[in-house]
Symmetry: C2
Subunit: 356 residues, 2 copies
DNA sequence: CTGTTAGCGCATTCAC
DNA sequence: GTGAATGCGCTAACAG
């Protein structure tokens, strides 16, 4: 296999200049039909791939990005996403990337609206969005589309929008999976509560809804629908949670398992623990510090995770690559693997630099 | 935070030339004590990080690598490792990397010796080794050390050698994990056979031994050692396997589960299937095409995997980075995550480009 | 439209 | 030892 030709050599072969080849390569226009064809002919004969290094080094332009996600606390889900983004910024430090961070309370729609209003005031090259509320995000995106500001979603797709890319998981599959795991744990012996979180001013997030559909689907498939009980809890009212839990357990003495459809399983773990109901098998989503704590002591049986760092990393990467090459990939939605984490494989997921 | 200084600016501040700064940065020597200190002082004040792009572009040198692993068939474990390596070569195509591939039969020690003998004839810049036989690999490495040829291990560490880096999994943990999974499947009801593979001219590989230790450890921990039965099978004598299996099952009618300590679980799956013993729960290692086939039909319950593509990718990366910067990382062994794959999360592991 | 040219930041000559 | 000069491959700016 021959050495790869360089721009200059392609230019020679096509009887044009390097500048023209560059214009054709990145279809920046301003090339006559004739010359374009000449260049494309040469390009067709060989396999050219632009040298990312030379490219990056010549492209000495800065990019202003805004990242808008639920509050990214260290050790929580969005903290991991943030880490991934920061890691990517760091890795791309040769490109001058300036990030502005804006966050909102994912359980409070007003807070989200306020954050989105801030976005309207800014004029970045691209926005990374961690969406929660469907309608509000659609409205934001309509405004961004109008202003021709591209955006990338992390964690979830929002229908009716036109993102450059989306990094997420197949949430329904996650639901199937956690349902299947739980059915193994409880073994037809009793019932399973499916917990959700109370939100201010809006229904469940898209992701949560899809996960629940996945659980339902699995239990229906197994002919065990009647074993599912639905309930919810609050992220801040612990006393209320306790009361609800006590009456729930009284009402359904045959509860053997609990699924929390988001990352707050640790709240239920603590509650069950304090009520002396460690016999109830528990499983939830995401490798957060608090979940890890309960996973280690087997109070959470398994965690279903979706590579938040990688999502953040790839999202930043996608934004930059779009800004540089203005190319949209055909497959907008990129699915991450769904990881199953139990105490034994925990150490090699947590903080593992190999995971990017 | 201020913009990062460039070599030229550092040179100015230190009152030296760019050349000198470069010599200090990569301690290539030939710098007077005095100037070195001046440069290091400036370096201490700021945070300099060399621009990998400019670096890569200036460093216009080619590298000759040799990859020596068990035969890398598509759809099998080593095929995945190969894919990862090729992917990395592709990604680094700006650097001129030339790979020579040498393979051996992992179940035949003579074949391995022959491959290693070939290595002695070559004079590459670095070798990527997928080791199987411990003593033979140690001997090879001693010769490589003598010839000052650096090497990287993929898949397993071999004690008594000095690799630049090793990409592997904590195999004992994998054993713990598969043991724990199996104990969930069979639920104290019956016994578990642990299968291994017959090898020509040597005992089990290091990885296999560690995995078995992990299973033993877990069952001992649970006070269930008596439930384990050890057996083995051949990769090519199917008729012999069938006979052995029949007599094994006759001897132990209470077998409820089977663990295969390598990637050849599909052989046992097929055998059990043909014997009408689909009731025996089966689990093994690695996401190979044949295992996937049985996983999809639930004839294999779960696969334990160790990111072979990523291992290959990182190994190539480590080799190049060592060749360029001559720096050895302190943590030679890099552990990959241990993935649990069941039918539900299979699609997002298999061929998922997001996994690198 | 098109060709020429001047860098980008670093590594490596090669004189001094 | 040391600095100045050159080039890597690509892109952007500019003159025509």
């Amino acid at each position: 296999m021959a050495r790869q030709l360089k721009v200059k050599e392609i230019a020679e072969r096509a009887g044009v200049s390097a500048g023209t080849v560059d214009r054709v390569l990145h279809n920046r226009g301003k090339v006559s039909e004739e010359k374009r064809i000449a260049v494309e002919r040469v390009l067709g004969e060989i396999k050219y791939k632009t040298n990312i290094h030379s490219s990056a080094i010549s492209l000495r332009k800065g990019y202003r990005l805004v990242v808008c996600t639920p509050t990214a606390l260290k050790g929580e889900y969005w903290g991991a996403v943030k880490r991934g983004i920061e890691q990517a910024v760091d890795e791309y430090s040769d490109i001058d990337i300036h990030c502005t961070w804006i966050s909102y309370d994912q359980f409070d729609i007003q807070s989200c609206l306020k954050a989105f209003a801030q976005l309207d005031e800014l004029d970045p090259d691209c926005i990374l969005i961690g969406p929660t509320f469907e309608k509000e995000t659609q409205e934001l995106c309509a405004r961004l589309d109008a202003r021709a500001i591209p955006y990338v979603f992390v964690d979830a797709m929002i229908e009716g929008t036109r993102p450059v890319a989306v990094f997420s998981c197949d949430q329904k599959r996650s639901g199937n999976l956690i349902g299947a795991l739980m059915s193994h744990f409880i073994l037809q012996e009793g019932k399973v509560v499916v917990f959700n979180i109370d939100r201010k001013g809006n229904a469940h997030s898209q992701n949560t809804r899809e996960r629940i559909m996945g659980v339902d689907e699995y239990f229906r498939f197994r002919g065990m629908e009647s074993k599912l009980i639905k309930s919810s809890f609050s992220v801040d009212d612990m006393e209320g949670n306790r009361k609800r839990m006590v009456s729930l357990l009284a009402e359904h003495p045959d509860i053997k398992g609990a699924l929390v459809m988001n990352s707050r399983g640790h709240i239920i773990a603590e509650l069950l623990d304090s009520l002396g109901r460690g016999d109830i098998k528990l499983s939830c989503f995401d490798l957060t510090d608090k979940n890890i704590e309960y996973l280690k002591t087997w109070k959470i049986g398994a965690l279903i995770c979706q590579r938040p760092e990688l999502q953040g990393f790839k999202a930043l990467q996608a934004a930059i690559s779009y800004l540089i090459y203005k190319k949209r990939d055909n497959d907008v939605i990129k699915y991450m693997p769904i990881d199953i984490i139990v105490p034994f494989n925990l150490p090699y997921y947590k903080d593992n630099i190999q995971n990017l």
